[in-house]
């Protein structure tokens, strides 16, 4: 009898526990997909190898991935090579042996990691490349069409310096790293676009290694050598502030226009349009890219390709041209907000 009572109590408590348990589950109904898709992400390993952390683009993308990692319980590893191509290559090699479920790579240039991307694919690991298009496609590419971006920049330059502008038509081009897709496809785009505008003449075409200080030095020389210069086409906001500083120093703000581009971070993009540093700005909205990247990772984890690298999904970022006339309060995003609230 005593045993029976005790047994009942145990059974009852188990039953109550089960009920309570069932109760909490029923609070979030299964719509037939949500639990399954979340389960596919749980416990997976996602690795991210940026060019470097600590600047707007990579911080925004990482913020998105961190948010998802927390929410779905996947493990996110970020290996920061801090602008060293070697260290990045080592990080990817190391990751291949660790067999994560997906590797997100931000290639510093077209060739550098192509072999490694293929090796990862051959080892059965899907690869997502972000922003800078490498030679090897991997499984998903998230990033801008650099050709189109440079066409848009050149077109806005033509508007400011071309026919009927009353200007000299002399422009200068400031590239970053020459082996980077921004230059490889960008220069092609600039030349193709200018074929229809013979009145525009490129008087200087130099590279500044994405370094504002180098860009400043080159720009100040070019401005002195060409007193009637009409504009600069720059290829990254973080570098192009150096051009803007040189123009301001020469007292030519308003006379020499800067067409720039970047990830649409408030301080690098819209603030510079607002204060007149840039006359036009093509944004590839890194905040939007962060979301694209989150979704690409989710897709791959839920639906792992049978043969990684066989098919590639191209998720080209919609581009937005921002000028003083087209700028609105939400044309740009703030890094602090993205870090705090997600993309």
């Amino acid at each position: 009898m005593k045993h029976f009572v005790k047994g009942c109590a145990v059974a009852a408590s188990i039953a109550i526990g089960a009920l309570a348990c069932a109760g909490s589950v029923s609070a979030a109904p299964d719509d037939g997909l949500i639990n399954e898709s979340a389960a596919a992400l749980k416990g997976k390993k996602v690795a991210f190898v940026p060019i470097a952390m600590g600047f707007d683009l990579t911080e925004a993308w990482a913020a998105g991935l961190k948010l998802d990692a927390q929410r779905f319980g996947y493990e996110l590893t970020i290996r920061d090579p801090n602008w060293s191509v070697d260290a990045g290559a080592q990080a990817i090699s190391q990751l291949i042996s660790e067999q994560p479920d997906v590797i997100v790579v931000h290639p510093p240039e077209i060739q550098a990691y192509s072999r490694l991307i293929q090796q990862a694919n051959a080892a059965g690991i899907p690869v997502i490349t972000v922003s800078l298009k490498a030679d090897a496609n991997g499984d998903v590419f998230v990033g801008p069409d650099w050709y189109d971006l440079a066409v848009k920049e050149t077109e806005s330059m033509v508007k400011m310096c071309g026919k009927d502008s009353g200007k000299s038509g002399k422009i200068a081009v400031m590239q970053g790293v020459l082996t980077n897709p921004t230059s490889q496809y960008g220069i092609q785009a600039i030349q193709d676009t200018l074929k229809n505008h013979p009145e525009i003449q490129i008087v200087s075409n130099q590279g500044a290694d994405w370094d504002a200080s180098k860009a400043h030095a080159i720009a100040s020389t070019v401005i002195k050598a060409n007193p009637d210069l009409c504009g600069f086409i720059g290829l990254w906001d973080n570098m192009d502030v150096g051009i803007a500083a040189a123009i301001k120093e020469a007292g030519k703000q308003g006379q020499i226009a800067v067409a720039s581009s970047g990830g649409g971070n408030q301080v690098s993009g819209c603030d510079n349009i607002e204060n007149g540093n840039f006359a036009s700005y093509v944004s590839y909205d890194a905040k939007g890219q962060a979301r694209d990247l989150m979704m690409a990772v989710r897709t791959i984890l839920q639906n792992k390709p049978a043969t990684p690298g066989e098919h590639t999904v191209g998720l080209y970022t919609p581009l937005k041209v921002i000028t003083k006339d087209t700028m609105t309060a939400d044309s740009c995003w703030k890094l602090d907000d993205v870090k705090k609230f997600g993309p």
Binding site: D211, H216, V222, K224, A225, A245
Partner: protein, 327 residues
């Protein structure tokens, strides 16, 4: 007789001659080269390199080297901008950044003078360690914009003018002059030469070489901070990535090409000026000619190599110099 005067050409003179030849060549071939505006731009563009060159020269003359100058410059000034943007008053932010630079310099000095770690290894390690720890612990981002200090005296340092002369040139001139006076006319300055020439002999004659070494690295750190302020206020931002760039080799190049031997004890600030001017003229002329970037690098290295070869032929190493040993 004429043969003797040729062999007397020092590397500094050879580089000066090459520089003058280049100036003549560019003046004739490029319309816009020899204008006041362009010459000022030329000097302004190498001012930061020159300031860092002065710091490096102080280290090398004392038979040391400071590979951490660029890291010190980048992180200390990036921290100033970040503090100031975050609401810390400008003078206080500047003082904190300057103190950070001095602390790194002090650690360099102690490692080299008291733990007797060779300068090349101590500063190489400190550059990386300081960059890494400051970046991880103090700085939010790699790139810090100058926002709050816009329109202040601080902003003037790298972007102001006096009678049309850009302030970076004036600051370079001031730093060079102070360093020159220090080396030539102060007791500590003379001791730096003694230490560089023969540290053991200097010590035996009563030169406090350990304290002097610490002073040396404090000075390089202080000058690096000034260079950083000029750089940040010229382009409204500080990109800490510069710490990982090739800039430090360019600085050593300016010093060595100007004729300061890596084995210490020899040279003057004038050598730095000559070396800096050569690089400035080259870069400026090639930019005006719109020579592609990669080709510019090739031409630059070939001219520098030529200067070194001419020096090696004209001033061959003798038993004494080879015994001292370079780094």
């Amino acid at each position: 007789m004429s043969g003797r005067s040729i062999t007397k050409l020092s590397q500094e003179k050879i580089v000066a001659i090459i520089t003058v030849a280049l100036i003549l060549f560019f003046s004739v071939s490029l319309n816009s080269f020899l204008t006041a505006g362009n010459i000022l731009a030329l000097l302004q563009n190498v001012a930061i390199l020159g300031i860092l060159g002065v710091a490096m020269a102080l280290a090398i003359i004392g038979r040391g080297i400071d590979l951490s100058v660029v890291a010190i410059m980048a992180i200390s000034v990036a921290w100033v901008l970040q503090l100031n943007n975050g609401g810390v008053a400008l003078p206080q932010a500047v003082a904190m950044g300057f103190a950070l630079a001095l602390v790194i310099g002090l650690v360099n000095g102690i490692l080299i003078a008291y733990l007797e770690i060779p300068a090349i290894f101590a500063t190489l390690a400190m550059g990386t360690a300081a960059y890494g720890s400051v970046r991880a612990l103090l700085l939010d981002d790699n790139l810090v914009y100058l926002k709050a200090a816009e329109g202040t005296w601080f902003k003037w340092i790298g972007s102001g003018q006096v009678y049309g002369i850009p302030s970076p040139i004036l600051i370079f001139a001031a730093i060079a002059l102070i360093a020159h006076l220090f080396l030539r006319f102060t007791v500590s300055g003379r001791f730096v030469f003694a230490m560089g020439d023969n540290p053991l002999a200097a010590r035996a004659t009563g030169v406090p070489i350990r304290a002097l070494m610490v002073l040396q690295y404090l000075l390089t750190a202080a000058i690096a901070f000034v260079a950083g302020v000029v750089m940040a206020t010229a382009v409204d931002s500080m990109e800490t990535r510069v710490a990982r760039s090739n800039l430090v080799y360019d600085i050593i190049l300016v010093v060595v090409i100007g004729g300061i031997g890596l084995n210490g004890g020899k040279g003057s600030i004038r050598n730095v000026l000559v070396g800096t001017l050569l690089i400035g003229v080259l870069l400026n002329g090639m930019t005006i000619m719109n020579i592609p970037y990669t080709l510019q690098n090739i031409i630059k290295s070939l001219i520098l190599l030529a200067a070194i070869i001419i020096d090696a032929v004209m001033n061959p190493r003798d038993e004494q110099t080879s015994q001292q040993g370079d780094i």
